[in-house]
Symmetry: C2
Subunit: 348 residues, 2 copies
């Protein structure tokens, strides 16, 4: 399913390391006032002023985190930025800069790296961040992308994982479970393609969930929304693994328990219909799916009037004393302990 319009193939060795970096970064412009010096010296130089800065990093590995047989390189570049920005926004900070390092085997021509960089540049442009550095090197096998993201935040707005208090509301942005189901559809089509390469898949019924997998967005808008609503969450975390795993991280860091209501989980209609088609339980998918890059936060009851009418925010439960544990309250009103699922890469 990779769209390949390039007929030209340029060998990476034709450029060498410095030529390659210069070539790939030639279109980058500086947008942030805090970026004093970007690419081109031993290090980039930043001036955050009185704000605090946040730093986060993530590694994406071919064959582990992505499959190039259905992930176009441009989307991959875009997604590699998004997963890092999501961590910055989860601190209630504004993302300002990234560095991007790429290890790539000789099987990739220059044009493939240009596609990847086009996705990175698109994300940088849309989210208003500067690409200030990086490294491009060869690998013995496959493609690997390492991104470090930097953001700025006023001290009083920083939101950690450990600030949740009993009676706080548990709130999630957007909807969840779609990215995981999108991946199931793509995996199924890959198997179909292996059997019949001429088959033209009809994916109209899955456009939303596939886009959530291939081109996720980070919730920059939520940081602004919270500012506009004059709400500082008591804690916040991004949902890169499944919801239950992230809730448990937050409860552990804050020394609290929680009650999560199954009937409050925000699910897109495509998630419900596709889960039925795959004979899967949509609640399980929402709890364990991962890769939604939504934000999970806790908000003081006092702030409820400010958020209650907002379509971006759904109250899905509330925080309890630690001794009460973390539970899912099912539609049948029974309580079952929340269990972490999610990341299991080393078991593959």
């Amino acid at each position: 399913m990779i769209e390949d319009k390039n007929t030209e193939k340029t060998d990476l060795s034709a450029l060498g390391e410095f030529g390659l970096i210069e070539h790939l970064t030639r279109n980058l412009t500086i947008k942030q006032t805090s970026t004093i010096k970007g690419i081109g010296d031993d290090a980039a130089v930043l001036e955050p002023g009185e704000k605090k800065i946040v730093v986060t990093t993530d590694l994406l590995v071919e064959g582990v985190h992505f499959d190039l047989s259905y992930m176009p390189l441009k989307h991959l570049g875009y997604k590699s930025v998004i997963v890092n920005l999501s961590d910055v926004y989860a601190m209630n900070a504004n993302a300002t800069q990234i560095t991007v390092s790429i290890a790539v085997s000789n099987r990739f021509p220059l044009e493939a790296l240009e596609e990847l960089y086009a996705g990175i540049e698109t994300a940088a442009a849309i989210y208003g961040i500067d690409v200030i550095g990086g490294d491009t090197t060869s690998s013995t096998k496959g493609l690997l992308i390492s991104v470090t993201a930097i953001g700025e935040v006023k001290t009083e707005k920083i939101t950690y994982r450990n600030g949740a208090k009993p009676n706080d509301l548990l709130v999630v942005t957007g909807d969840i479970g779609a990215a995981y189901l999108g991946l199931q559809v793509l995996e199924r089509e890959k198997e179909v393609f292996k059997v019949n390469p001429n088959n033209q898949p009809d994916l109209d019924a899955y456009t939303y969930i596939i886009e959530r997998q291939l081109k996720p967005e980070a919730r920059k808008d939520i940081v602004k929304l919270l500012e506009d609503l004059d709400v500082i969450p008591t804690s916040m975390i991004d949902i890169s693994d499944g919801l239950s795993s992230e809730i448990l991280h937050l409860c552990k860091a804050s020394n609290v328990g929680c009650d999560l209501y199954e009937n409050k989980l925000p699910l897109d209609p495509q998630v419900i219909s596709t889960a039925e088609e795959f004979n899967m339980d949509s609640t399980t998918i929402a709890l364990s799916g991962g890769e939604d890059y939504e934000l999970l936060m806790t908000i003081s009851q006092d702030d409820f009037p400010k958020i209650k009418a907002n379509p971006n925010l759904t109250v899905i439960g509330f925080i309890t004393e630690e001794s009460l544990g973390a539970h899912l309250v099912t539609r049948a009103e029974t309580k079952i302990p929340l269990q972490a699922q999610g990341w299991k890469n080393f078991e593959n």
Copy 2:
């Protein structure tokens, strides 16, 4: 030549991602006052105050940048930090924090990663920096380490590559060429080992050059020395590739030329004797070897009295007008144009 004292082998899947990160980072302590929050949230939080911060990143790939048949994992962890700190010091900045991301295949047991981390921790302790984040994930093949380093510097002290002016002195720290020759000795011993695994190599004559390859140091001391001497270089760059490649970077960035004197190149006696043994030209090695992690800088003539007696600093030439080009002045007093060698990984 890897020393393996571990008889226990723990499978990585026994811990999972979060358990693995917690396990590997359990001994880390925070030393820098600017580190507000280290590992354990969506992002680390820093408070650089009125200083500017510098950011640099480097990727080390097994089979490209290192060979585990003679590079012990602890040394590799140490070196992966050093190569990044060197870039920070090349900005005349103090290194303060790093993030470390590791992709590793299942063939490595937990104990191997512990060795790697022990080297990272040793470097962090010696150089007084905080490990504030990272990512540990599986790879389909081999080991890859991505480090991002952060430093702090007062605005007036930042030293870029582009400030060299005609008549400035070209100055290098320490001595050069040793790391490359150390690699040649290790490669030779690896071939001997393949033929006769019972051979006990006698490496006494090569201790310095092997240490320069396996356990390089970054010149933190030079940043302090320059402060003590009250000297701010007009430009600076670290020597990760060969000297000639770095001189050409500096000349290009500053729009200047230079005369470099062959008879001024600082060479260790082991470099001279080992180069003879390998029937190689020591000047070529000094110019093209790389991995020395020394600093190359230009200094105003006015500052010459401050540096002339210092054993850490060697004047190796001077800056000229751009139109005159960059040249090596040989012992025979002939001028030949400097050529970039160095990094050629994509050609392998």
